[in-house]
């Protein structure tokens, strides 16, 4: 049994051999080690050139083969199934194919394996075996063929270094393009599913509807048969929690930054700053657990003590903890902005007799304001996109309320609950998650771009 890993290993081995052969060949062409100066490039470049020419095509073939192999084999196996199975609806065929794959991989399957399935499984395994062998032969042949040609072409004047450098250059270019492909991938994948969602649910209803209950009943005569996809309660929930978070994080973060950059002495800064950074490095799931375990019960008990009815999944608990999470974010960015204000401005204010706090309030802060606004915008985008805290501490029910003691839900919570667990990909329920994701992406993108532009413009002012 040849596994793809073995094939890959063989190809890498061949590439390594190609390096060695290219190296030896170049030395031989030069006429021995003492004459390598006669070559255009140093011998390792010849080795690298040979290896790259052999390795890259073989690996490309390998990658394409791996991508399309499963589909082709599945189609062949399905075509080989008896007619009564092939005429089943598509999703049932998918189930059968899954069973076959699992059986072939030696896993436990859901249903009892019938004779037909057994046969199909062995068919599948046979095809897979053939395909892997064919892959090994094809890729290996390409590798060896290229090796023979390239090593034949090596002469004293072959510009091996230039070739190697050109290939490396294009590798660097392609790596830097991945960032663009990621963005395109996000936009296209989310947009595609969102458009399918908007075919079922009108955009206006989604954006302005006041009722959100995405659970669709299985039978049409049950309650909530159609589901409701008005996302306004979800938006208000997100905004409410983000607002609470910012109400905590902005004053504390800003005042920390001011104290840190204007008042604190060196030792205090050396201790407090890393500690604040720890706060930024704690995973959000830990904050979520903290919110659910400690903060929410405390808030509920405190509410009961003063006679208020507080939900155990109140927006206040989630918002408060999210605020704590965002403090270091606001403070470190604002710190940078305050430090960027030239000392001359401060000295001018002191010379006029202003106290330190007056200088800060009337000179430093106004001068740093655009930068601070930018950092707060970035923090807001963080708060809107934050997932784990709200998933663990906020609720699932979409209440249209601004009362922080009630349960609200957020965009990210809805995405998680709609997509975790069993899903069928065609129902508006799962597609709604992508519509919400699209919206989330667009909103955070806008906030980020505005913030980046503001920050960059401001930085240029004093440079």
């Amino acid at each position: 049994m040849i596994s793809p890993t073995t094939v890959l290993f063989i190809l890498l081995l061949l590439t390594g051999t190609a390096y060695y052969i290219g190296l030896r060949r170049s030395v031989a062409v030069a006429g021995g080690l003492e004459h390598v100066r006669k070559l255009h490039s140093r011998p390792p470049y010849y080795g690298a050139m040979t290896a790259l020419w052999c390795g890259i095509p073989a690996l490309v073939i390998f990658a394409f083969w791996q991508t399309f192999e499963a589909d082709i084999i599945t189609n062949l196996v399905v075509a080989g199934l008896p007619n009564e199975i092939r005429n089943l609806p598509a999703d049932q065929i998918n189930l059968i194919v899954n069973d076959i794959r699992n059986l072939a991989a030696g896993n436990i399957v859901s249903s009892q394996a019938t004779q037909v399935i057994q046969e199909a499984t062995s068919h599948y395994s046979r095809l897979q075996q053939t395909s892997h062998t064919a892959l090994a032969v094809v890729a290996g042949c390409v590798c060896i063929l290229v090796l023979v040609i390239v090593q034949h072409k090596i002469s004293k004047t072959t510009r091996a270094r230039n070739q190697v450098e050109r290939i490396i250059f294009w590798l660097l270019v392609s790596c830097s393009i991945i960032a663009i492909f990621t963005t395109i991938g996000i936009v296209l994948s989310v947009l595609y599913e969102a458009i399918r969602f908007f075919k079922a649910v009108p955009v206006a209803e989604f954006l302005f509807g006041l009722k959100w209950s995405p659970q669709i009943a299985i039978r049409s005569d049950q309650v909530g048969a159609s589901g409701a996809f008005g996302a306004v309660p979800v938006f208000t929930g997100t905004l409410l929690i983000s607002a609470i978070a910012m109400a905590v994080a902005t004053p504390i973060g800003l005042m920390s930054a001011i104290y840190m950059s204007e008042y604190a002495n060196k030792t205090f800064r050396a201790v407090a700053k890393p500690l604040m950074e720890i706060l930024a490095g704690i995973p959000t799931v830990v904050y979520g657990f903290f919110a659910a375990l400690v903060v929410a019960p405390v808030i509920r008990d405190a509410g009961q003590w003063i006679g208020l009815d507080v939900s155990s999944e109140s927006a206040l608990a989630a918002g408060l903890v999210m605020g704590i999470m965002i403090i270091p974010f606001v403070s470190s960015l604002s710190d940078d902005m305050i430090n960027a204000v030239p000392q001359g401005l401060r000295d001018g204010a002191y010379a006029l007799g202003a106290t330190k706090s007056e200088t800060i309030k009337q000179v430093v802060l106004p001068a740093a304001l655009p930068g601070i606004v930018g950092s707060i915008l970035l923090a807001i985008s963080r708060a809107i996109g934050e997932t784990m805290i709200v998933v663990m501490a906020a609720g699932l029910t979409a209440n249209l309320t601004l009362n922080p003691l009630k349960t609200v839900t957020t965009v990210t919570v809805q995405i998680v609950t709609l997509l975790v667990g069993d899903q069928e990909f065609d129902s508006p329920k799962t597609l709604a998650a992508f519509a919400l994701g699209l919206l989330l992406f667009l909103v955070t993108l806008c906030l980020n771009i505005i913030a980046l532009v503001v920050v960059r413009k401001y930085r240029e002012q004093y440079e």
């Binding site: 604040m276 706060l279 657990f289 106290t355 330190k356 997932t387 998680v416 997509l419």
Partner: protein
Amino acid sequence: MSSQLSNMSDNGIKPIDIVKKNLAGRRWAEQRFRRMGLAAILASLFFLALLFFSIIGNGYSALLQTYLKIDVFFDPGKIAKNDPGNGDYPGIVKVSLQKMFPDVTGRRDKRQLYKLISSGAGFQLRKMVLADPTLIGHQQSIWVPADDDVDMLMKGHLSRQEDTQSGRFNRQQLQWLDRLEAEKRIKKKFNTIFFTSGDSREPELAGVLGAVAGSFFTLLVTLLLSFPIGVASAVYLEEFAPKNRWTDLIEVNINNLAAVPSIVFGLLGLAVFLNFFGLPRSAPLVGGLVLTLMTLPTIIIAGRAAIQAVPPSIRDAALGVGASKMQTIMHHVLPLAMPGMLTGAIIGMARALGETAPLLMIGMVAFIVDIPGGFTDPATVLPVQVYLWADSPERAFVERTSAATLVLLVFLFAMNGLAVYLRKRFERRW
């Protein structure tokens, strides 16, 4: 101006008097402002302390687990002769318990008695017999894990008074436990199960090893992909890229990707890697791919800063003795920038280790008992394990969740510590 001043002095009010009059108030305002700043910092440090205090306070007790000592007779009649793996081991445990408490007769009482011991005891006996088949037919005293409720009671997380009323324990069970305690058959030992097993529905049998292995494979994929790609992009953008619109576009893109909510990367992974390419669900391979896309911006930005920090004179010197541009970069710039790049990569990895939301999207939340052994085995990761356990209703899982969080935080501290060490050790001022 001067006439104004002289006018004022004529009236007997000098400017210095105005200043002096307000001075006390201004000084007080200064003090107040300063104290507000200090209070803000102390408030955040207080939250930090509270967070660590509550997690350590809840989690440290998971290092110990309550064990009960039972006298087991490995009954040859209950174990298949040629195949010691096949036997009624839970039955053996029950018989041993009955022998220890011969006065328990009723069926309901017996069931209450069996509840004291973890359902994992049978597996433990089976493992012992498989390791040493000569045990069959012999009697031995064995420490087996207690049930999670007993464990919680012994650790003081459940109270005898309340939980008898709520029906979690009955009085008889408490008496049995007292008797066992008097016979010194109850002991708290170091909880090896927690560090050596995978997930379980039974808190006393649940461990983090599966999640740690899943995190390891996922991060390995992330590191192997994101570090080379990140370094290559940083080199291109810093050293080769011409200043034009195209490069600007790439730059803006990278900066934006660094701020895109992580859950959106999860949506991308679900739509592209799972639905389009048909990669397996719950696999560390897919998790690693998604986290790669997420950490790439961090690594690229850190890498560019590291390359920028290499002084131009190094490049000029290399170019001056006839190196090509690529040789200059490969032989001189990259080695000098490498510590900075590594630091950035480790910090990126630490962030990837703590990331949960995108992995929920690609199905790494499944309940997986087996410890993953490869990149395509279904797996879960440490933060997702924390999330899963945090959702479990059993009291004992609160303790395990906190302990799992502690394990996660220990890994994070180790990684960040390594990054700080590297920075200190290799930092060079030119």
